[in-house]
Amino acid sequence: MKITLFEQAPYRFLPPDFENKYASVCDTPYSLTTREGVYDSMRDFLDELMHGARLGFDGIAITEHGQNCYDMVPNPDIIASALAYMTEVEQLDTAIFPMGRSLGKAREPLRVAEEYSMIDVMSGGRLVAGFPIGLHYDASINNGIPPIEIRPRFDENLELVLRAWTDPNPFAWNGQFNQYPQVNLWPRPLQPQPPVWITGIGNPRTMQMCLERNFAFNYVSWFGAKLTGKRIFDRFWEVADQVGVPRNPYRLGFLQTIAVAETDARAEQEYGPHLEYAFRKGLGTIPPHTLMMPGGIDIRGVEALMRDPSDFGLYQQMQHVTFRELVDAGVVIVGSPETVREQIAEFCTEYGIGNLHAMLGFGSLPKDLAFKNIELFSKEVAPHLRGIWADSEHQHHWWPERLGGTPTPATAGVSATESAAPKNVVTVKEVAAK
C-alpha cells in the first residue's frame, strides 16, 4: 500500500470563539490574522511535509482551497514546486502529489498544464497529478465561475491538459471555454503522462468517469471510513464491476485524519483540542449552501440529495463537535500505535484501499506535535500497513515509474458532466476515432 503524508495549511491561531462568529470560507475576515501567525502557519506546514519526505513517506500531498482560513493554499502548485526542488536536492524518492489543481475552477487550464509540467521536471518525474472537479464555494464564489459551468469547464480543461502534455505536435484549440491559436508546451512533463487522480466526495458520475478513463480516484470526505466510507466504497466497486475493470486497490485513495501518541490517553490529551479546532474552525463553519450551489449539482443529484442528504455528512454538526464525538464517529483515528494501526488496517483491507493519505497535521497543531505525530506514524504504524496488498496480483498503474509504478495512460470514457455533448463541439476523442 502507498502511504502519503497529507496536510493542509490552516491558520493556526484563530480566536477561541471563532466558530460562533464567522464562516471559515469566502468572507472570513483577514483581520483575524497576524503577519507572524500567517508566516508560522505556512512555514510549519512546509517543514512538516518535508519531515514526512525525509522519513520515507511514499508521497507528500496537498490540495487547493482559496479565500479560507483552514487551508491557505489557493494554488497547490506553488507548494508542490518548492517541495519538488527540495526533495530532489535531498535525493528523496517521494511522490509530489498535489490533489490538487481544480479544473472546474481554472480559467487558464494551460497554466495548470504548464505548472504540472514544471513540477514534474523539477522533481525528476515524481509528479502525481490530482484534479478535483471543483468545490462550489471555491470555483464560484472565490473565482466567479457560474456553478453550472464547473463540470463542463472541467471536462474541456482536462482534455486540453492531457493533449497539451501528450500531443507531440503544436495544435490549435477552439473550445467553448478556451481558445488558443497554438499549444506547444515547453517544458512538458518528464513522464509520458503523469498519473492522473480525480479527487471527489462521492458523485457516482465522477466515479464512473475515473473507472472508464483509467484515472485513480481520491475519496476525500473528511468524515472517515466508518460514517460515509462503506456506502461510497461499495458504490465505487459496484461501478468498477459495471464498467468491467478489475477491483485493483491501487486505483483508490482515501484520506484519514490520524493522531498517534505513546498511549491512547496521551493522544487524547495532546491532540484533542487541536482536532476540535480543525473541524470546528474548518469544515464546521463552511456554510452548507456554499457547497451545493444551484447548477453545480445535476438535477437528479439534487433530487437524490433532498431525499437523502447523507453524502454531505455532517458538515454542520462539526461546528461544535467534541473530540469524543470525532473519535466515536470514526472521523479521526486517535491513540497509541496499536490502536491506530488496527483500525486503519481493517478498513483499508475491507474497502480495497490501496493508497492511504494520512492527514497528520491539522488545525492548531503546533509543529513539535505534528513532527511527533509524523514520526510515530512513520515508525510505528506505517510499517504495519505497507504490506497490505503486497500479495495481490494487482500493479500500481497510477504511480510514477521512477517510484516503482507501472503507469498506464488515460483512456476514453464518460465526461464529468451529466448530459449529451453539444453537437458543434468536436472533441479530440471523436476526431481520433474517425
Partner: protein, 276 residues
C-alpha cells in the same frame, strides 16, 4: 382587495429552434394582442398577475432553456447571453407575434431589456419589474444564488409572513411533487445563473440607449434583493421610460402587491406608445 379571476386555460407549445438544436417550451393563455412574459431566475410560475393579463392579451411565457420539466440539459446548448438573445428573437418570430408587449420580472427583466436593446423594432412597449442587469459599486447586493435558502424569503418579500408571500413560498402538499418542484427550482436557478453569476451584468448598460420602446420600470419600494435605487438608474439609461414604485412590496410586486402592480401596468399598457 381580492381580485376576482377565472384561471384561464393554459396550453403548452414547443418550438424547435436553432436548426433543431434546442426546443423551447412556451405556456400560452388568453386571447388578444400578444404579450411575452420573461420569468425570474427560479423558473416560470404562472400566477394571478399573468391570469389577469390573459384577460386582455395572448400571454406567451417561454421557459428558459433547461428550466422545462424533463429537458434539463437544454441549457448545455447555450454558451452565453448572445445565444439566449438570439434564441428568444427566433422564438418570437416563430410564434408570429407582431409588436408583442414584453414584460420581464427580475432575471426576466434583464432578458426583456436585452431583447429590446438588441432588436429595438421588436416592441414599442416594455415593462421591467425589479430587473437585474446593471451594477453600481454604491448599490451593491448579494447574488441570490449565494444566499442561504433560509434567508431568501426575507430578501424576496417585504413581509414574508403575508398571505401572498406565504402562498408563494409554501410547497405543494404531495411530498413527491414538492421534492420535484424544489429540485427543479434549484436547477432553474443554476440554468439562469449561467447568465447572471457572479454579477448580473453582461454589459446591458452599454446597450440600453438602443431601446426605443416606451418602458415602464416597476420596483418594489422595499426590495431587499435588488435595491430600488436601480430603478432610477434604468430610467436614466432608457430614453422613453418612467418609474412606478410599489409601496409595501419587496422584490416581487406582482405577488406581494398584486392589485397596485396590475393598476400601474395596465395603465401603462392602455396608454399610447408615444406617451410613457
Amino acid at each position: 382587495m381580492t381580485i376576482e379571476l377565472n384561471k384561464p386555460v393554459i396550453s403548452e407549445e414547443s418550438y424547435s429552434l436553432w436548426s433543431g438544436r434546442i426546443n423551447v417550451r412556451v405556456k400560452v393563455a388568453g386571447a388578444g394582442k400578444p404579450l411575452i412574459y420573461f420569468h425570474p431566475a427560479g423558473g416560470l410560475v404562472w400566477d394571478p398577475f399573468l391570469s389577469t393579463l390573459a384577460d386582455e392579451y395572448t400571454v406567451y411565457a417561454p421557459e428558459f432553456p433547461g428550466t422545462s420539466a424533463g429537458d434539463p440539459y437544454a441549457i448545455r446548448a447555450l454558451a452565453d447571453l448572445s445565444d439566449a438573445v438570439l434564441i428568444y428573437d427566433e422564438l418570437i418570430r416563430q410564434i408570429g407575434a407582431v409588436n408583442p408587449v414584453l414584460i420581464g420580472q427580475s432575471f426576466g427583466g434583464m432578458l426583456a431589456a436585452e431583447l429590446a436593446a438588441h432588436f429595438p423594432h421588436i416592441t414599442d412597449k416594455l415593462v421591467l419589474m425589479d430587473p437585474v442587469g446593471l451594477w453600481r459599486d454604491d448599490l451593491p447586493f448579494t447574488h441570490w444564488m449565494a444566499v442561504a435558502p433560509d434567508d431568501l424569503p426575507a430578501l424576496l418579500f417585504d413581509d414574508p409572513t403575508s398571505a401572498a408571500a406565504k402562498a408563494f413560498l409554501t410547497p405543494p402538499e404531495d411530498p413527491e411533487i414538492a421534492l420535484s418542484a424544489a429540485a427543479a427550482m434549484v436547477w432553474a436557478l443554476g440554468c439562469t445563473g449561467k447568465l447572471t453569476w457572479p454579477i448580473p451584468d453582461r454589459g446591458l448598460r452599454k446597450r440600453l440607449h438602443r431601446v426605443t420602446a416606451s418602458t415602464l420600470i416597476v420596483w418594489g419600494e422595499n426590495d431587499r434583493l435588488i435595491p430600488a435605487g436601480y430603478a432610477a438608474e434604468f430610467e436614466s439609461l432608457i430614453d422613453k421610460s418612467r418609474v412606478a414604485i410599489i409601496p409595501g412590496s419587496g422584490h416581487v410586486p406582482q405577488i406581494e402587491q398584486l392589485s397596485p402592480t396590475l393598476d400601474v401596468v395596465r395603465e401603462f399598457l392602455h396608454g399610447s406608445a408615444n406617451r410613457t
